[in-house]
């Protein structure tokens, strides 16, 4: 079965073809980062306008790459939420129209489920159950993943997401958008510990996070004149150290508390080199193992949506060919996702 995946929840248009027998056949992505850069962040209306220009060219590109035609598509998976309403609606409308034309079924996918399952696209993959650390621009969550569709939230950020903290801090230091990668680059030139920042909630005894205080601490440091030159690099390094210390410690604690040795890391912050170093070190010491999605699949992409749709299809979660009724869910708690229902 060939599943087309469509992702358009934020500022990336991603399309992919995943075959349940042959695996990922093709994926293509258009990032709007350069377009939003001048605005200092994602402008939802501009994001939506761009998605609707990109869908068909990207779709044609993946079909060509996979040497398939429209007639080969058996199902269409698309991100139905959470995300920017206007952006989600573009992908959903196109997917549903296309499915109507091709007479195939649609699978509305939860964006975070896509991220959670993306490490399963790698050659070496974890086995259920495992712990997932989801660290992106909008989310910081630790989840227990028991099976497809069976996710238990263990802890999350009480305020800013880790990626958001990176982005806001980068802005305070006058770095571009998106700030995460820029801040990480600046941190390479600095040294952590010369300036000290708190490790919020490190010893809170639970699996919650909080990053907004850290951002305020950076703001204070910048106001005290530490936001320029080599001190800016030291500040960046210390900030990165603080965030990754907390993420690594809580991820390890989550595994221990659940008697698990496999950790999956998903979301854009999962690309952070320092975070990977710390997790790898902590888990090798603990004789556990950390799984990361391929770098290209860390941020938003269509492959994870196609894959997620395929898994739901294989698990028997295939609705009969739809009536074409659809709705997006800009706010959609992951815990609301049911396990696939086996249909007779």
């Amino acid at each position: 079965m060939l599943v087309l995946g469509i992702e358009s929840s934020c500022d990336e248009t991603g399309l992919a073809l995943y075959d349940t027998d042959r695996g990922l056949l093709a994926h293509a992505l258009h990032s709007q980062v350069a377009m939003h850069e001048d605005y200092g962040g994602v402008v939802p209306e501009l994001a939506s306008r761009d998605h609707i220009r990109r869908l068909i060219p990207l779709l044609e590109a993946v079909l060509t790459e996979a040497t398939c035609t429209r007639k080969d598509i058996d199902a269409i998976a698309y991100t139905a939420g959470p995300g920017l309403a206007g952006a989600l609606l573009v992908g959903a409308s196109f997917a549903e129209g296309l499915a109507g034309a091709l007479g195939v079924l649609t699978l509305p996918i939860h964006h975070l489920e896509g991220h959670l399952l993306s490490p399963l696209l790698a050659a070496e993959r974890p086995k259920f159950p495992f712990i997932a650390l989801l660290v992106s621009g909008g989310h910081t969550q630790l989840m227990r993943v028991n099976a497809i569709g069976d996710y238990e939230l263990l802890g999350e950020s009480l305020d800013d997401a880790a990626g958001e903290a990176f982005d806001k801090t980068a802005k305070l230091l006058g770095l571009g958008y998106p700030g995460g990668p820029a801040l990480a680059r600046l941190a390479e030139q600095g040294q952590a510990g010369r300036i000290t920042l708190p490790r919020p909630m490190l010893h809170s005894g639970d699996l919650s996070f909080s990053f907004s205080g850290l951002k305020t601490a950076v703001l204070t440091a910048v106001r005290n004149g530490l936001g320029a030159g080599t001190q800016a690099a030291d500040l960046a390094a210390e900030f990165q150290e603080a965030v990754t210390d907390v993420l690594a410690a809580k991820a390890l604690a989550a595994c221990k508390a659940n008697g698990m040795r496999q950790l999956v890391v998903a979301g854009g912050v999962g690309a952070n080199r320092r975070l990977r170093e710390k997790l790898d070190a902590a888990f090798s010491h603990f004789r556990g193992r950390v799984f990361y999605p391929e770098l290209a699949l860390c941020t938003d992409n269509g492959a994870m949506i196609a894959f997620c749709g395929a898994q739901r299809l294989l698990a028997g979660d295939a609705p009969v060919v739809g009536t074409g009724t659809f709705a997006i869910r800009p706010r959609w708690p992951l815990a609301d996702l049911a396990r696939p229902v086996l249909t007779a």
Binding site: D38, Y39, G40, V43, E45, L46, S48, R49, I52, R53, L55, I56, P57, L59, R70, A85, G86, L89, V90, G91, A92, S93, F94, A95, E96, G97, L98, A99, G100, A101, L102, K171, T323, G324, T325, F326, A327, I328
Partner: protein, 222 residues
């Protein structure tokens, strides 16, 4: 000539099936998006007429101006159907469709664009053809006047009644999928249909955000 048309630029959501001059339409006032209804209505109209999707010669949609989200709902569904069926698309001006619904004569069409602005255009209707006398613009209602004042139509005249004195106003005029289909059919017959990817909304309001530099220039913060 058989074509399917979608119109979701205002809170009146509609789908129409044009079959060789006859037109079936479903229309409802739905303030919160018509995504639940658009495709089911299309399927129902096709079934009623005994037409298969593959028998369509093309598709059409109300391209704008109008609510951005609505424009993309109709455009996205149309693009998906058209690309999947490999059929051409005719984007139709929503103001021209509204004008057609007024009948023969000159008409000044104004739709509420929110944020104290309106979409405005002037059209001449003669039978099934609509010609543009003044193209759609997005402006504050106080900044436009048309003289001599022709017949008026569109919700802009209600929202901004004080700023827009109207002479002969036709109430309850909206762009409809049936009007979109009527305008699209001859265009499609003339071979003016576009490839699905080229069928895009016509936003008219193009400045939707300020860049960081523009915000700073206006005394804003980063």
């Amino acid at each position: 000539m058989k074509l399917l048309a979608f119109e979701t630029s205002t809170r009146w959501i509609s789908v129409a099936l044009w079959c060789d001059g006859a037109c079936l339409e479903r229309r409802e006032e739905l303030p919160n998006s018509g995504s639940e209804h658009l495709l089911p209505w299309a399927h129902a109209l096709l079934a009623e007429a005994g037409v298969a999707l593959t028998q369509l010669d093309g598709l059409a949609f109300g391209a704008g101006p109008g609510g951005f989200t609505g424009l993309r709902l109709a455009c996205g569904v149309t693009q998906g159907l058209a690309w999947g069926l490999d059929k051409p698309v005719v984007p139709v001006s929503t103001l021209a469709a509204l004008a057609l619904n007024a009948g023969d004569g000159d008409i000044w069409t104004v739709l509420d664009a929110r944020m104290n602005e309106v979409y405005s255009g002037v059209y001449r209707v003669a039978g099934d053809t609509v010609s543009e006398l003044s193209p759609p613009v997005c402006v504050p209602p106080g900044q436009i006047a048309v003289s001599p004042a022709p017949t008026c139509g569109g919700d802009g005249f209600i929202s901004y009644a004080e700023a827009l004195p109207r002479s002969s106003f036709i109430p309850d005029l909206w762009p409809t999928a049936a009007a979109v289909a009527r305008l699209a059919a001859p265009a499609l017959a003339r071979g003016e249909g576009l490839h699905a990817a080229a069928a895009q909304p016509l936003y008219v309001r193009d400045k939707v955000a300020l860049t960081t530099a523009e915000r700073l220039a206006r005394g804003g913060v980063r």
